[in-house]
Symmetry: C2
Subunit: 367 residues, 2 copies
DNA sequence: TTTAGCAGTCTAAGGTAGAGATTGCTAATT
DNA sequence: AATTAGCAATCTCTACCTTAGACTGCTAAA
């Protein structure tokens, strides 16, 4: 039993109205603001039917109607008006992105900030775990008498490096040779391959056994832990602006949920290949006791590779239209940023003289 | 005009009582719980005098008394009971610190977590800026055809490394030579020396000019920006547990203040060489519109060098005694951690087999 | 100097009444 | 058959009032 066109219109009116005011929507309100051609009584009848169908509820017998989570799902899928960014919103985006942002971390941080500022919601961004990165190069660099740095270069950039203790007998030459050996062994493999036994089988020369084991351990760390590390939250205080969290208890539950950043990962993951994913209400009941909310995320690609996700967390009643427009726009903006190389860090994000960090002008000065 | 002993006792009783219940303290309460030898009328008279002196106030004529910020200042300085950690608290500390934490960042993160968990307050930790670090070694490592990593080793550890674009003509050998050259030029200097012109004057061979400039620029970045980057907040939701922020408006103001992490830096800085610093109420009105609160911080040293600060942010009415005891204890705990080397990162924080990342057992296996 | 006793002041909680909003139903209308 | 007007019923929200309870400050006695 499908929705008639008129029911859809009324449903959309209720959702729009509720999103705007966070007040139960009455039949007369709809008549005045959306459908003046109908009488309030007709609208009332239709609303009763929509309630029957599970799209609306009332808080008490003499209150207006409120959309259910089901209604929102239908709304984002079919009913929601598509809008473009306003000039002001574009201005905000520009303000954040005309600085050079070349490190993925910074990029996602900026993205989160923009999203939060424009939507007035709490935003969240996270860097995809490195599992899918392909190892290009591994370098072992002697640092002090007893320590060395392990640098792992992947197609997505340089991983956060790791200091290891080494015995005092190790020379620079040994490090160089070992570097070549492990690059040879691991190069071309994905980090996740580490967990597939025998994906990487090469003869390990005895003298490099320890290096080999060390690298394995480090890579395992990346594929396990690293995924939890880089979550950026922006504007968590904004959750309090939403009337649904004006109740202190609910506000606290929500903030605690946000505090435990690690637990956010599963809900942020974009299940499908969809560009934008909606998780509304019970869609994301990963943790029980998790406060009721909606999460809208987009995945971000650079040079064809997904580098991370970003989106918003807020009450089920949120301005989905606005959220989608900004997420969409940013996703495209990010995609157009210089690809590949930009995954590497370039701390000179705000070089006062506008020059790039260059050891040699041959390539860069042309820019 | 000094405080009589009896006045001090009464003041302490008021502060203790108020810290415990966040309720105005009445004369009869003090009589019952603290000073049964006196009559409530006497206590009333003394309290009136303490109010006259600026240590107490009442919310309305028929309420009990509440301590002023001045009273808290006196309290932490003179009146506060010193206590030790309970067995349970020690257990919590142990739980966080028996994992190996060797990177400064992780160390402060753990510290913040412990503090927040034990005090039930929002805690904050930040890594001292690297200005005072002395450069030991600089390494330039070619990574891809056009990028290199600059690794700067200081006595406090390896700085977050920086990727730079290089021209394609640069060889590994050139990098090695350049590394040696810049290490020679900058080694032994503090990072802050960069800003003192001519502190570092060596003949710069023409072929290394660009490298030299690049390093300078990177170091300048560290001394400017880095200080803002590493602020860790833990348990910001806990602020809502405090009755003084049960008012939504106040809660929001506080959370917004915490959200803008950068602005926290000035209030966190430990002005004196005091181990523990108290900023109570107006002591820390750096930003106007900043919500009323108290900040207690301790500075943490490793091997004689201050690596960062950590402490709590909460209502003026907080359990200073508990806070001080935990900050004090942690400060000592941290100090006893393996010095110097421990500043370096060792990602293997949870190695299941308990083994260390080692390239060579000569040194480490003895541990 | 301390204390008992008491009037005065203020808050917090509970209860009531009335205004206002919105619905569902019924009967009339298109 | 679908729509609409009209109206009683339901429920919330606010304002107001009252009362109980908690302290204090003051006065006069110990």
């Amino acid at each position: 039993m499908g929705l008639t066109n008129r029911k859809e219109k009324i449903l959309q009116a209720v959702v729009d109205g509720y999103i705007e005011n966070c007040q139960p929507v009455s039949s007369s309100e709809i008549k005045e603001h959306h459908l003046p051609a109908l009488s309030s009584a007709t609208i009332r009848n239709e609303m009763a039917a929509l309630e029957e169908m599970g799209y609306l509820t009332q808080l008490h017998t003499s209150s207006g109607r409120v959309p259910t989570a089901e209604a929102y799902r239908l709304y984002v899928e079919k009913l929601m008006p598509r809008r473009k960014l306003t000039r002001q919103e574009l201005k905000i985006v520009k303000r954040y992105f005309n600085k050079k942002v070349t490190e993925i971390d910074d990029l996602l941080k900026s993205t989160a900030k923009v999203i939060s500022e424009i939507t007035n919601l709490t935003s969240v961004a996270y860097v995809q775990n490195a599992d899918d990165a392909t190892i290009i190069n591994i370098r072992i660099v002697r640092i002090t008498d007893t320590t060395a740095l392990i640098i792992i270069v992947t197609n997505l950039g340089v991983l956060k490096d790791t200091t290891v203790h080494i015995g005092s007998g190790v020379t620079d030459e040994y490090c160089d040779m070992a570097s070549r050996f492990v690059t040879d062994a691991f190069g071309g493999h994905k980090i996740s391959d580490i967990n597939k036994p025998k994906a990487i089988v090469k003869q390990v020369k005895k003298e490099y056994e320890r290096v080999f084991d060390t690298i394995i351990r480090i890579l395992k760390n990346y594929s396990h832990e690293e995924m939890f590390s880089d979550i950026v939250l922006e504007g968590s205080a904004k959750i309090l602006e939403q009337p649904e969290y004006s109740n202190l208890k609910k506000a606290k539950a929500m903030l605690e949920f946000l505090d435990a950043k690690e637990e956010l990962v599963p809900v942020l993951q974009n299940s499908d290949d969809m560009n934008i994913s909606f998780k509304i209400g019970k869609d994301n009941e990963i943790k029980d006791g998790m406060p009721e909310c909606a999460i809208v995320t987009a995945s971000y690609n650079i040079g064809g590779v997904t580098v991370g996700n970003a989106g918003v967390i807020g009450p089920i009643r949120m301005d989905y239209s606005k959220v989608v427009s900004i997420l969409d726009y940013l996703s495209k903006t990010v995609q157009m940023l210089p690809a590949g190389e930009s995954a590497n860090s370039d701390a000179d994000g705000e070089a006062p003289d506008g020059d790039d960090n260059s050891l040699n002008t041959e390539v860069d000065s042309a820019e």
